[in-house]
């Protein structure tokens, strides 16, 4: 007799026990029924708890000790939050993500330019709707797409100041609004001079996991890429560099 046969005979024995009309079998049936009811009640309670949305407590990360980064060439950056505002119903937030200093001129005298290449949220690359600022589709690394962020996030990029709206390189249309017309509490004195930044408007949605303002990542590109240009800019710039007068730098 194999162990399989042994197990089979035990199961058959248990079946006979529950189908009999003995006192022991009746007690066992009552216990099983009580257990089943308890599981059903717990399951309903759990579902109710899941449906009750308690929101998300967000701690924004500004610090007076953060330095504004300087970016040359291509780089990915999360930026640092320098302003935040939440609507009265707690459902919409605006944040300003400061990404980089605006760099100076190259050795040949031409101005450097910083453009926005891509943006990611929760690790997914975002593409925009026709207006160029409202998120449409999101893609993962394997090219799979989802519309779960569609309409919930708006991103307004700027390169230079609040009055220098720019577009993402991937989009045909783009941002044309001044930053102080987008961010609810800003005025024209919020000039964001010589800064590269993005104003982000995000609408809370727990189902689609749009619950945080801290998960953005930008790919930005500076036309200043040559080592000589970078060294010259860093030596010459008085805001983030050494501030050496141009006349004292041998550029030839």
């Amino acid at each position: 007799m194999s162990f399989i046969d042994t197990l089979g005979s035990i199961v058959k024995g248990a079946g006979r026990f529950f189908t009999s009309n003995s006192i022991g079998a009746s007690l066992a049936k009552s216990a099983l029924l009580g257990f089943a009811l308890s599981r059903v009640a717990k399951s309903i309670k759990k579902q109710q708890e899941e449906q009750k949305d308690t929101g998300a407590q967000i701690q924004v990360n500004p610090s007076t000790d953060n330095s504004v980064p300087v970016i040359y060439g291509d780089a990915y950056t999360n930026g640092t939050i320098t302003d935040a505002y939440m609507s009265g119903d707690n459902k919409t937030m605006w944040v300003c993500l400061t990404l980089s200093e605006m760099t100076g001129t190259k050795i040949d005298g031409t101005d450097s330019a910083i453009s926005f290449k891509e943006v990611y949220y929760n690790g997914l690359r975002l593409r925009f709707q026709e207006d160029g600022v409202t998120v449409g589709t999101a893609f993962d690394d394997e090219g799979n797409s989802t519309d779960k962020f569609s309409g919930l996030i708006k991103i307004y990029p700027y390169s230079g100041s609040s009055t220098d709206p720019v577009s993402f390189a991937t989009e045909i249309a783009g941002n044309t609004a001044n930053a102080y017309d987008v961010f609810p509490t800003w005025t024209s004195s919020n000039a964001m001079n010589d800064l590269v930044f993005a104003v982000v408007r995000i609408t809370y949605n727990k189902t689609n996991k749009v619950t945080s303002v801290n998960n953005f990542r930008f790919k930005i590109s500076n036309t200043m890429t040559q080592p000589g240009d970078v060294l010259f800019d860093y030596m010459n710039n008085s805001r983030y560099g050494a501030g050496i007068p141009e006349a004292e730098i041998y550029k030839s």
Partner: protein, 198 residues
């Protein structure tokens, strides 16, 4: 490099160019930019179309190291014999941080003619200055010695802490009317109950 092989006797003179952007003679006077040019030469000498006042023995400049690699270096410029009533010019002007350039020129002692071209010896800024008073009790008069401590650009860079920080003071240091970072101190550690029914 100047070749001095054919000369039996040469002398060198140093020429100091001190550019003061905020210079004034009295405490109430307005600031104006001025350039002080002086040398330890015995006659007025013109370099780049600018005349250098000869101070002769009244000017002393310490030695400076000359190295192939860029290294931090300091130099002291001492001017003595300054009358007391001229001290105000230094006290009330903004001297610290002013750019200093020191040239060296070689002269043939027999003809006093310059040998070769003028060379740059030191480029830097004034780091600090001090006074020393010399009182003549018999004449009941006093003269002063002023000492400028200069640092070269390399030393200056090693001390430099630059970069804009995300706080209102730092922003306004560069853009006085820009209020973009004004709310950062209030937002530090702030919590938002995002999504909670209001």
């Amino acid at each position: 490099m100047i070749n001095l092989d054919s000369y039996t006797s040469v002398r060198t003179s140093l020429f100091v160019r001190l550019q003061i952007d905020e210079y004034r003679i009295t405490p109430s006077a307005g600031y104006s930019a001025t350039v002080l040019r002086f040398s330890d030469h015995f006659i007025t000498k013109t370099i780049d179309s600018e005349d250098y006042v000869p101070l002769g023995e009244l000017l002393n400049i310490t030695k400076s190291a000359s190295e192939l690699k860029s290294s931090a270096n300091t130099i002291s410029i001492t001017i003595s014999g300054i009358p007391t009533n001229n001290i105000a010019e230094i006290l009330h002007s903004k001297i610290k941080g002013c750019p200093v350039k020191i040239y060296r020129a070689y002269f043939d002692t027999s003809t006093n003619a310059q040998i070769g071209t003028t060379q740059v010896k030191f480029i830097g800024s004034i780091d600090n200055f001090s006074f020393e008073e010399e009182i003549d009790a018999i004449d009941k008069s006093a003269t002063n010695t002023i000492n400028f401590e200069c640092v070269n650009t390399s030393d200056l860079l090693s001390r430099k802490i630059s970069g804009r920080k995300t706080n209102p003071e730092s922003m306004k240091k560069y853009f006085a009317s820009d209020t973009s970072f004004d709310r950062v101190p209030n937002l530090e550690g702030a919590n938002y109950n995002f999504g909670v029914a209001g």
